[in-house]
């Protein structure tokens, strides 16, 4: 829930002033920038995203560190799955990673440990 995902604004979205196309680890999705409307970031800026909304602008350095932090927390797969799911691209998916809270890519996840 506290998951804050760093992404780079790559494109405006025609006809939707509050949306931007944001890229996270190679995945592109539309993110709502309504919470940053007082100081709208520009294309090329980095933002921290939470549940499909940009929460704050960050530096590129902070974005790289945040990505590293997510990997240290074992949350990279969860973060990428979340971003992939924006725009209902993955609607209704019930893969292991988002229902157990344990990342299936984690080498010490439950099943591998019990195997």
């Amino acid at each position: 829930m506290c998951l804050a995902i760093p992404g780079r604004i790559v494109e405006l979205v025609p006809g939707q002033a509050h949306l931007r196309t944001v890229e996270v680890a190679g995945v592109r999705r539309k993110v709502d920038l309504g919470l940053l409307q007082d100081d709208m970031p520009a294309v090329g800026d980095w933002v921290l995203i939470h549940v499909g909304f940009a929460m704050t602008k960050i530096s590129e350095q902070d974005a790289a560190e945040q990505m590293h932090l997510l990997s240290m927390l074992g949350e990279t797969e969860q973060a990428i799955q979340e971003v992939r799911g924006y725009g209902l691209a993955d609607a209704g998916g019930f893969s292991r990673a988002n229902t157990t809270g344990i990342q299936s890519g984690d080498p010490l996840s439950m099943n591998e440990h019990l195997a």
Partner: protein, 377 residues
């Protein structure tokens, strides 16, 4: 057990750790609460307790919105979906939370239309795409998430999307901290303040903790170094007999918070007179409800809500663990009847729940030990 050199900035971490040991050396026992479930998760994941001296005790706070949601609210939401032929849309971490009659996932298996969404905006999109169905977004979360729900409701109203509503379980963090401070069984010296909640509400809302209760608060980032630095800052204040709010997470938290986010919340939500929190009981002015201007998008006004109140299974000690009175392994069910695979309470389901965090940490420690023994043998 994590070794310091596995972290980035090992020299800075060693420096912070040394400073903590030096400051804490007096032998006084320090009790510091980290409020936010994300911090609990990070503390366990990074094995920070192993780096800290034994006279610093980290107490887990109630900042896990899935964990503090009473079971009756899940039951109510699922009842609406089942009886009123409504799509129940929620975040992934809600899906395995036990209700009286099964989790959302289990209800889905029995025919209720339950969908995962990763954003409230996507729940609204589901409604736009399915004009023949009603989509109810089961909203949970603290102030980090509430502004996004608020904006989504503003967009729904602006566009006139009528087949959409929100079942609102948003809660606010400060009353929970107040309830813990008021609790007779809790003695605390200071707080590691929430990270991303503070991105929205800023640091001002914690000033009364310092001023009225005399406890320092340091809002912290989530890196191992952030948390250790925050503990250094707390110890320095405690040693000097000070109590102030400090911001360690300056790169993401503005002191005044996010004005647009606060404005959106004020436009759409108002405080409920009281709300029931799992483990903490009824707390006044601690939760958000949807304003009259948005009544049409309020699931509690669109649909009959049973108002179910459920007591947790007697043996489960979720409430005491949530308040920090018990540590996860002190609950009688921990690791036996209650595991992440078969959770009894939400603290074992949610990634931010202290029980799940502790359980997975213990697993990792045990596995690492096995690996070490195996490699030495």
């Amino acid at each position: 057990m994590r070794y310091v050199d596995e972290f980035r900035n090992p020299e800075l971490i060693t420096k912070a750790s040394d400073e903590i040991h030096r400051l804490a050396g007096s032998g006084r026992h320090y009790r510091i609460m980290e409020v936010c479930g994300g911090h609990t998760h990070a503390i366990y994941r990074f094995g920070l307790k192993d780096i800290l001296p034994s006279n610093i005790e980290l107490i887990h706070g109630p900042g896990c919105p899935v964990c503090v949601l009473p079971m009756g609210r899940i039951d109510d939401g699922l009842t609406v979906a089942t009886n009123s032929n409504v799509v129940f849309a929620a975040f992934g971490d809600m899906m395995r939370v036990p209700g009286t009659d099964g989790s959302p996932l289990e209800h889905k298996a029995r025919g209720t239309d339950v969908r995962i969404v990763y954003s409230p905006a996507d729940a609204l999109q589901l409604a736009r795409m399915n004009p023949g169905k009603h989509v109810m977004f089961f909203a949970i979360g603290f102030e980090t998430t509430a502004p996004s729900t608020a904006l989504t409701l503003m967009r729904a109203k602006g566009e006139g999307v009528r087949n959409f509503s929100v079942f609102c379980n948003h809660v606010t963090i400060v009353p929970a901290i107040r309830a813990i401070l008021d609790s007779p069984d809790m003695r605390l010296d200071g707080f590691i303040g929430p990270g991303h909640v503070s991105t929205v509400i800023g640091c001002r809302p914690y000033e009364w903790i310092a001023r009225n209760e005399g406890k320092p608060v340091v809002t912290s980032g989530f890196e191992p170094l952030d948390l250790l630095q925050s503990i250094v800052m707390l110890l320095r204040q405690l040693q000097a007999g000070e109590a102030r709010v400090e911001n360690q997470y300056k790169r993401a938290v503005p002191w005044e918070g996010n004005r647009a986010a606060l404005k959106a919340m004020a436009e759409v939500f108002q405080l409920r007179p009281y709300f029931e929190w799992r483990g903490l009981g009824f707390i006044s002015q601690s939760a958000l409800k949807i304003r009259d201007e948005y009544a049409e998008w309020d699931a509690e006004r669109r649909f009959p809500i049973p108002g179910t109140r459920v007591t947790d299974p007697k043996a489960a000690q979720c409430g005491e663990v949530l308040k920090g009175v018990l540590k996860p392994p002190q609950c009688k069910l921990f690791g036996k009847e209650c595991t992440p695979e078969r959770p009894i309470g939400a603290l074992m389901v949610s990634t931010e729940g202290s029980c799940a965090a502790y359980y997975n940490y213990e697993l990792r420690k045990a596995a690492a030990m096995v690996t070490r023994i195996g490699s030495v043998a």
